[in-house]
Each structure stands twice: as C-alpha cells, then as structure tokens.
C-alpha cells in the first residue's frame, strides 16, 4: 500500500512480501501460515512484471501457464480473468500457487531475478485463484460434445486430476478411481492444513466434478478391479498416477517400536484423518513431547511442524548431511526454524532404544562428515567412528523418502517396471510397455513435486488423445 504507482522505474519496487501468521501463535494452530496478498499488494506486485517479449517464466513451468498474461490481468484489476487464464492450462492454480517450488521453476527464469528479485509469480497465482474461489465467481467451461471414448484414471492425485481435467475438456468420459475415501492424493493425505488448506483441494476437485469428471473413491485399482477388468468393461485407455506411496524405513534395530511412525502414517493421520482434532475426530495420533524427525525434505519439514502443533516441547530434524544439501524448500526450512525446530545436521540414526512396553525412548545417532560427491552431485555423508550418542525421544517420524507401491504393477501383466519398482515409460508421453496404458507422476519418476506430476498428466492427456483419434 505504501508503494503506489512508481511510474517510470517499475523495477525499483521491491518484491512484495506476503503477510504471515506470527510464529509464536501459529505453532499452536493448524491454520495456514502465509495469509495471501491483498488486492492492492497483488496489483503492485503484478506491475513489477515487465511483460517480456520472450518470457522465460513460461518455459520454466511444467504446464506452460500463460504467466505474463495472467499477471497483466491482475495488474489491470481483472482478477477473475486472471484466474480463468490460469485455469486454461492449470486445473489446480490455488494448489500450485502454494506448493510449487517456484524458485526453481518460473521465478528462476524471471528476468528481474537476474539483477534483483523475481516477480512473485507463485503468490500472484495464489491470489488470483483464491480471489475467484472466495468471490464464488467460479464458472465451469461449457460441456463439449462427448467423443464416445472412456478413460480410466488410477489415482486422484495431482497427475490424475490434471489429466482428468484435460481429457474431459476434449469430450472424453473420464472416471478417476481413488483408493482412499477422499480425492486429492498427496494434497489431502500428505501436505498439512497449515501449508495447503483442505477446503482448497476440495474446491478444486469439485470444479473437476462440475466439468463432468467422475470420481470413484474407495476403489483400489489392482484389488477392487484390475486394469484388465477395466479394459474389459469398455475403457479405451488407462492412466496410472498412483504415486510413490510406500514408505521407506532405514532397517535399523528398533525401528518397529511403538511411537515410531513413517512420515506417510504420521501425516495421513493428521491431515487426511484429522487426528489433530481427536477426539472430535475418531483417529488418534501420538502427541509426543520430544519428537525426532529423520530426513531433510519437505515431508520432514511438514512432519516436524506438525509435531510442534500437536504439542511437542522439543521437535527436531535429524539429517545426515548439512543444511546446504537439504532437499526441502528454503521457505519451509525458514518457517520451521522460526517456529522453534532444532536442526541436528551431520547426524544419522543407527538404532532405536525402547522400554519394556516396547515404546521408543531414545535414538542412538552417529556423527557424520561430508566426503566425496555421490551420483547426485551431493557430497556423501560418512560416519565418524566412535561418535555415537543417544537423544531422548518419545516419538520418531521417519521421513527418508518413499518408494513405488507394487499393487498396480503386480496385478497388471506385461506392465514393465524398473528395478526399483517404478513404471517404465517409453518417452515423455507416458506410454508404458502396454498399448493403451499410460503412467505419470511419482510412480514413474519416484518422489518429485506436485507440478511435475501435473506436467506428466498434461503430456499423457495429449498422447492419449493422439492414440485414440489417430490410430
């Protein structure tokens, strides 16, 4: 508000900050941390965009959002139009505006970022999508004529929701089969309320339903029905977007003690089942006082911040490398630090210690040092002999990654997977070793981001359209 209309030299206006809930206050609630732009701030920020002739930002976006166009519309105060521009290429803008790693994608390519600070594209995307939703001014595109082809999609996560939106717009009869009782995949079970309010996911899913996408929840592809049974029922093509849902444990002694969770379980209890509202909601969760979260990714940050909100007096991250190598977004690390999380770097658990009742009481760790760079280019951690020490804990969350869930490949003859269990695709189209079956998202790439899964869904939609109408 204080920065109004600096006419000639737009680049002098600083990147607009987004207000946030105070750290002291937010650690005791599950409400969203960043509060979003006001209309004035959004316009000020949008006006920083210099509308490049050859916008680098679009090339940095996996779903090719028309970034300068929607930003221009915000700058002109046409917020609803901005939201519609976003939705032309991105069915989940309110989600992406919150959880995309823009700093590595669109904003990384922004010309302003070369000398100063890039345009806050993510915050503007969030603003436009929120504006549309909060004003209730959501219009559904007119239904297109049915083209007579049926598509089955396994998994209602980011990849599945994207391909469903794309194909329904082309006239396909689209059904998403979701294993859990609620659509959204990692958006509902994985990402906490304080980072992505579930009402937003529900609204975006509802939008797809209004467009004509059918969603069958409680339907486990491979168990309830197999992919071949769906083909037999008349589906013309199938897309597999089931994610990398299986938790990885470290296989160290004591890992099955009570009080030790996989991040998947801890977050699913809290997010999907709303265990943080127990006993109003029926699903319980351990409210640990001393909680250790093992890992350095976004999931680890989500877990440790959840632990604080569940009442932990001490919540810590245990990570085997240093903060520089941590895969989590800087923003998440920053938020976690602000909220009082302890970071134990160059530390790795080697054993869990329990009491007679089988409950975890301590984690024995070893100090690490960085050695030679490994295949990922990061310096690999090496244990320092004799440096073991024990940290007292009553709860542990293991957040060291996920792997492929074998249910779909195991029940689909001829579907090839690599040695880690991920589905092999022929090229970017997502075509698998079987005709008519496409795959995308984490079940192909291993754990990645929401937007990359969405990009894969987009490409597979195009490929399926080509397959069914050009063969």
């Amino acid at each position: 508000m204080e920065t109004k209309e600096p006419k000639e030299k737009k680049e002098k206006v600083p990147r607009q900050k987004m207000p946030e809930q105070d750290p002291q206050k937010r650690v005791s609630n599950f409400e969203e941390v960043p509060l979003g732009y006001s209309e004035e701030t959004a316009i000020t920020e949008a006006k920083r965009c210099i509308q490049c002739k050859k916008p680098g930002c679009i090339s940095g976006c996996p779903v090719d959002v028309k970034i300068p166009e929607f930003i221009q519309q915000i700058a002109e105060g046409n917020f609803i139009e901005a939201a519609r521009t976003l939705k032309e290429t991105n069915s989940l803008p309110a989600v992406c505006g919150r959880v995309c790693p823009q700093e590595d994608q669109c904003e990384k390519q922004c010309v302003l970022g070369k000398k100063g600070e890039s345009v806050a594209i993510g915050r503007l995307e969030r603003f436009a999508a929120d504006y549309e939703r909060s004003t209730g001014n959501v219009t559904v595109p007119p239904k297109v004529k049915a083209n007579g082809k049926k598509i089955a999609i396994a998994g209602a996560g980011p990849a599945g929701l994207t391909i469903a939106g794309d194909l329904v717009k082309l006239g396909y009869d689209v059904t998403i089969f979701e294993a859990l009782h609620k659509a959204g995949g990692v958006l509902v079970y994985g990402i906490p309320e304080f980072r992505l309010p579930k009402a937003i996911v529900e609204a975006e899913v509802e939008y797809l339903r209004k467009m004509g996408v059918k969603i069958e929840t409680n339907f486990v592809i491979g168990r309830t029905k197999t992919i071949d049974e769906l083909f037999a029922e008349g589906y013309n093509a199938v897309f597999i977007g089931v994610g990398a849902g299986a938790p990885v444990f470290m296989n160290i002694p004591g890992e099955n003690l009570s009080g030790i969770y996989s991040a998947n379980e801890y977050l699913t209890r809290s997010n999907l089942m709303k265990a943080y509202l127990f006993p109003e909601y029926d699903t319980p969760i351990v409210r640990g006082k001393r909680v250790a979260v093992v890992g350095g990714g976004n999931v680890a940050m989500d877990s440790v911040r959840t632990a604080l909100r569940l009442g932990a007096e001490k919540a810590m991250i245990i990570y085997r490398r240093t903060e520089v190598e941590m895969p989590a977004r800087k923003e998440e690390v920053h938020h976690a630090r602000e909220e009082g999380v302890d970071f134990l770097m160059l530390t790795n658990p080697v054993e869990y210690i329990g009491n007679d009742a089988g409950w975890v009481t301590g984690v024995k760790c070893i100090k690490m040092e960085l050695g030679e760079p490994d295949a990922s280019g990061r310096r690999s951690p090496v244990p320092i002999k004799g440096s073991e020490f024990v940290i007292d804990v009553d709860t542990v969350v293991v957040a060291v990654g996920t792997m492929a869930n074998p249910i779909v490949p195991a029940t689909t003859p001829g579907l090839e997977t690599n040695k880690r269990g991920y589905i092999i695709t022929k090229d970017e189209s997502g075509l698998t070793s079987r005709a008519g079956i496409y795959a995308g998202g984490d079940i192909v790439t291993g754990s990645a981001t929401v937007i990359l899964a969405m990009g894969a869904g987009r490409k597979a939609a195009n490929a399926i359209h080509e397959y069914l109408f050009k063969k």
Binding site: H181, E206, N218, R223, K225, A246
Partner: protein, 291 residues
C-alpha cells in the same frame, strides 16, 4: 458443511446396512451392500470401513459374501467408540466408506487334514477360510472357543462346514473346559494326523497355538489384526516382524506363518493408542448417557 456433504454423497453405491444381528452380548453381525467387493472377494480378505465424516478407518474381515445379492457379511466386537456407534446402527442406515477387498486371500489347497481354530470374535474371521478349505476337499476339524458360553459365535455355521467341531469355553460353561490350544494339544498328543493348522483369535491365543505346533513341525497360519490406516501399503502402521523381517500386514498378509511371527511386537504395537481409545470411548459413553 453443505459442499462437504455433497462432496461425500456423490458415490455410486450407498453402502447400506441390509441386515443386522446381535451374535452375543457385544458381538454384532452385519450384512452390507457392497456389490463390487461381493463379486471380487476371496476367503481371508478384508475391508476398511469408515462410518462417517469424522470416523476412523477400521479393518474388518469379510466373513461371507453373496455375489448375486451384492452383499458382504462382517462381524465385529464392540471394543471402542467406532464399534459402539456401529452396534447402534440399524438396517437401512448407511456406512459412508467401504474399501476393498484388501489383503492377500488365504492360500487354499487340499492339504489333507486341517484344523481350523477360532477364538472369540476370531471365529468370524476363521469361518470364511474354513468354508473354502472344506470346499477344496480338506478334511476339516474345527475348534472354536470363547470365554463363556454366551459369547460363543457361529457354532451352527462352523458345524455345517466342518467334519468335526469341538467347542471349548474358558470357564467350562459349555463344551471342553479350557482353552482351544489345550484341545489341539490333546489331539497332537493322541497322535492325530494334522497337515496344517489355521488359528485366528486374540494374540495370546495365536501365540500359544503356534508354540503348540512348532515342536511337531505342523505348519500354522495365523491372521494378524494389527492397526491399519490406509491398508494399501502406504503408511506402515500395521508393520509386523516375520522371520526377523518387517512386513506390512495389509499387503504382505494378513496371514503369516505363526512360527515366524514376533507376537510380543504385535501385542505391544496394538497397545499404542490404548489411552486415547479409552478416552474416546468414555467420552462417547458419557455423551450417550447424558442424552
């Protein structure tokens, strides 16, 4: 709440309760509308159900099914809030979510002479695989037990699919006075030929049965009732140790070789939420009394 309501209502099946019957003081049998699951399910598999928006996801074995009618049968014991609420539901009510069939089916073959053992509400779980084993040509001897006569379930049904049925009660109020494991021990001591044992019930019962058969090398299959959330291999809540390796009961089981199961770990992990479950149940009961 309106949009949330709509969000959850648009499903193809209604998951209605078709029939409800009390089998004993706190054991209830329900026939549920679940046409796809009814067609697909095999002995040994289970469902996850969630009664309403705020409910938890609980695993229950599919006791029986009728593909024609599109129904499945479940049996549960009132042990906490969710099951207490379910016990008060009536025919015509609906269950919000039913997911399945889950888990690996029982490996059914003609083994020869099998002994199927059920304890307490576990009789309901052992029933479907006993029926399947009988159908596969096995000679089936069943041993079912409960604390006392009034808590015994499915005696008639088990009798109908067994070549021989032995009943045991802990207090001797009916049948053999003692545990089902003692009945099995006596059979072994008498030198009866047993090719395989299936034992399903409380953890201590399954542990003792496994201990009884181990020295005689009789393969013993148990079904593990560990705590689950998603039940599709995603969360690891249900992890158990079998032959020293971590397994997920939901996707690697629920049936395992009883001689290889770490029953102490299973029992400990089952107690993880005891305090909270009790708190929820007490609050629920207080709420009911207040009304």
């Amino acid at each position: 709440m309106d949009s949330l309501f709509l969000y959850n209502c648009r499903r193809e099946t209604l998951n209605r309760i078709i029939e409800k019957k009390d089998l004993s003081e706190n054991v209830v049998q329900m026939v549920l509308e679940a046409p796809v699951i009814a067609q697909k399910r095999k002995a040994g598999q289970f469902i996850i159900l969630k009664i309403d928006e705020k409910g938890e996801r609980i695993p229950l074995t599919i006791v029986d099914s009728d593909a024609q009618a599109g129904t499945i049968t479940i049996i549960f014991q009132v042990v906490g809030k969710t099951t207490a609420v379910m016990a008060k539901m009536k025919a015509g009510d609906t269950i919000q979510d039913i997911q399945g069939p889950l888990g690996n089916p029982t490996e059914i073959e003609n083994y020869g002479r099998v002994v199927c053992i059920g304890g307490g509400v576990g009789v309901g779980v052992v029933y479907p695989l006993t029926a399947a084993l009988k159908k596969a040509g096995n000679e089936v001897i069943s041993i079912i037990g409960s604390r006392t006569k009034d808590l015994l379930i499915l005696e008639k049904e088990m009798g109908a699919i067994s070549d021989r049925l032995i009943v045991a009660t802990d207090d001797g109020s009916y049948g053999f006075h003692g545990f089902v494991s003692q009945v099995l021990q006596e059979m072994i001591d008498k030198g009866e030929k047993i090719d395989r044992v299936f034992a399903i019930g409380p953890v201590p019962m399954m542990k003792v049965i496994s201990d009884v058969t181990r020295p005689h090398g009789i393969k013993t299959i148990v079904s593990l009732n560990s705590i689950m959330v998603d039940a599709t291999g995603m969360c690891g809540a249900c992890r158990v140790a079998v032959a020293g390796k971590t397994k997920f009961a939901c996707v690697d089981g629920p049936e395992f070789d009883g001689h290889e199961v770490d029953f102490k770990l299973l029992a400990d992990r089952l107690k993880m939420y005891c305090d909270q479950e009790r708190q929820a149940y007490e609050q629920h009961k207080c709420g009911c009394d207040g009304n």
